[in-house]
């Protein structure tokens, strides 16, 4: 088991070969974004390096491991394509999360039908009532997969990425006042699924 890394990672953390995260200053971020706007490949690479971990982590849990690489690529393609529209009003870190959530949701809508057919064919095998050996991480991954995508994204942004309510509102383009109540729903439903999967705290 890998040691639990600290979860509260700044939205724009440079992951230099997976080592200690480095946070850009606003000036650095602005500089890189500007260079990306003119298609500078080195800047694109820096942007990718700085945000790939956060994007991939979110996308994996939104769309599943199977499609995560494709969707992550799509996120960056969109981001580079649309970077001209990035106003600088929000943090770049927030903006790339928005692209990631939107691409994930779009992907899920696209595959929904075929996926549901597959799920029907697949009996939920070992929903182990009272079976304590199933590990916490796996139970949570399963329960998360059952959560509807909108609630899943808000839960992940809060619990895994540690975003503030303002940042979440910005990412999801929802009123800041509704973040709390949505998180309430997400947490209650998730707890319900966890209990059904036999999870006991």
């Amino acid at each position: 088991m890998e040691s639990a890394s600290p979860r509260r990672i700044a939205p724009l953390a440079a992951s230099n070969s997976g080592e200690e995260a480095v946070v850009w200053t606003d000036e650095e971020a602005a500089e890189v974004v500007e260079a990306c706007k003119s298609g500078d490949p080195l800047a694109q690479r820096r942007l990718y390096d700085a945000s790939q971990k956060n994007v991939y982590r979110l996308v994996v849990r939104m769309v599943g491991l199977q499609d995560a690489a494709d969707v992550t690529q799509q996120v960056f393609l969109q981001a580079f394509r649309k970077i001209g529209q990035f106003s600088g009003r929000s943090q770049f870190g927030t903006w790339i999360y928005r692209v990631a959530v939107n691409e994930s949701l779009q992907h899920l809508r696209k595959v929904k039908r075929s996926r549901m057919q597959l799920l029907e064919q697949e009996p939920m095998d070992s929903a182990p009532s009272g079976h304590a050996s199933i590990e916490d991480q796996e139970v949570l991954e399963r329960a998360l997969a059952q959560l509807e995508p909108d609630l899943r994204s808000i839960f992940l942004l809060r619990e895994i990425d540690g975003l503030s309510y303002d940042a979440i509102a910005d990412v999801l383009e929802i009123p800041a006042g509704t973040v709390g109540s949505r998180l309430n729903r997400a947490r209650r439903e998730l707890k319900q699924y966890l209990t059904e999967l036999g999870w006991e705290p």
């Binding site: 991954e141 895994i160 947490r187």
Partner: protein
């Protein structure tokens, strides 16, 4: 505030998004209301649980593919080293391997980027394999330190049944390689059949004279997803193409012997891997 007003603010309270004034009122309510206090505890437990999620590793091939989609410009030479071309990653990995290249001629063209197991996925919806990958990641990490614990978790998950080699042969329809003898100094400690999503698979735990345990998995379906996105070293050992990953301070190796796919987990070094490959070579072709 009444209970429903508290319940509405529960997440905001838990996440520290309330003003200290309102937060104080909520705290006061918990003292006299076990229902709301319990709900808060469950939110706290959820947060603790979420902390245990392990970050997935970003596949190495992602940038390379992305780049080609961006229009085929080349990677800047002096860019950050996170995703060097495969040969670089391989070279550095090889440098750290505990043995010279005498036994292992490194293939010049290596595949490091295809760890996700696309082949396996084509046939199967991802959920089962995702869990397999997670379970195996745990198994690989735990095995060197606590082979017993790792083993128990795996057996619980895949309905592992203790079995004799003779009985395993009957059930599988082929004789596990280990039934024909292990390398000198090793003995069979335990044999199990595991019901994996891919197939039923024989697992043989072997122990050597030093008390070191290694696990051998034999199965008939290629199963790269076991290792998820772990960096992979592809090499030739005793003329046999072999994939090697580092896991939990030990080595895990997969190769093909006859029609079987063999996975060795818990090897101390390449010499130990080579010993098994050499020992089994040709045994499975019958």
């Amino acid at each position: 505030m009444n209970c429903s007003e508290i319940q509405e603010r529960l997440s905001s309270y838990h996440d520290g998004e309330l003003s200290s004034d309102v937060a104080g009122q909520v705290t006061a309510h918990f003292a006299g209301c076990s229902t709301c206090a319990k709900e808060l505890t469950s939110f706290e437990q959820l947060s603790e649980l979420s902390c245990q999620l392990v970050d997935p590793q970003v596949p190495n091939h992602l940038w390379v593919e992305l780049q080609s989609k961006l229009g085929g410009s080349t990677v800047p030479k002096n860019s950050l080293p996170a995703d060097q071309p495969a040969s670089f990653a391989t070279a550095s990995f090889a440098k750290n391997l505990p043995i010279s290249g005498r036994l292992f001629a490194l293939a010049a063209t290596v595949l490091i980027a295809c760890g996700i197991g696309t082949i396996a996925y084509q046939a199967w919806y991802s959920v089962e394999y995702e869990h397999l990958a997670i379970n195996f990641a745990n198994y690989l990490e735990k095995f060197p330190e606590q082979p017993d614990v790792a083993q128990q978790l795996l057996l619980a998950k895949y309905d592992g049944q203790p079995i004799t080699l003779t009985e395993a042969t009957k059930r599988l329809g082929y004789e596990p390689l280990a039934a024909k003898g292990l390398p000198p100094g090793y003995s069979v400690a335990e044999v199990h059949l595991l019901k994996m999503p891919c197939c039923t698979c024989a697992q043989i735990l072997c122990i050597n004279e030093a008390g070191n345990t290694v696990a051998i998995f034999e199965h008939v379906v290629d199963q790269p997803v076991w290792f998820g996105d772990r960096p992979t070293e592809d090499c030739i050992c005793h003329g046999v193409p072999t994939s090697i990953r580092r896991a939990g301070g030990r080595l895990a190796a997969t190769w093909k012997e006859g029609k079987r796919h063999i996975t060795l987990i818990g090897a101390t070094d390449l010499e130990e891997v080579a010993e098994f490959i050499g020992h089994f070579k040709g045994v499975g072709s019958g």
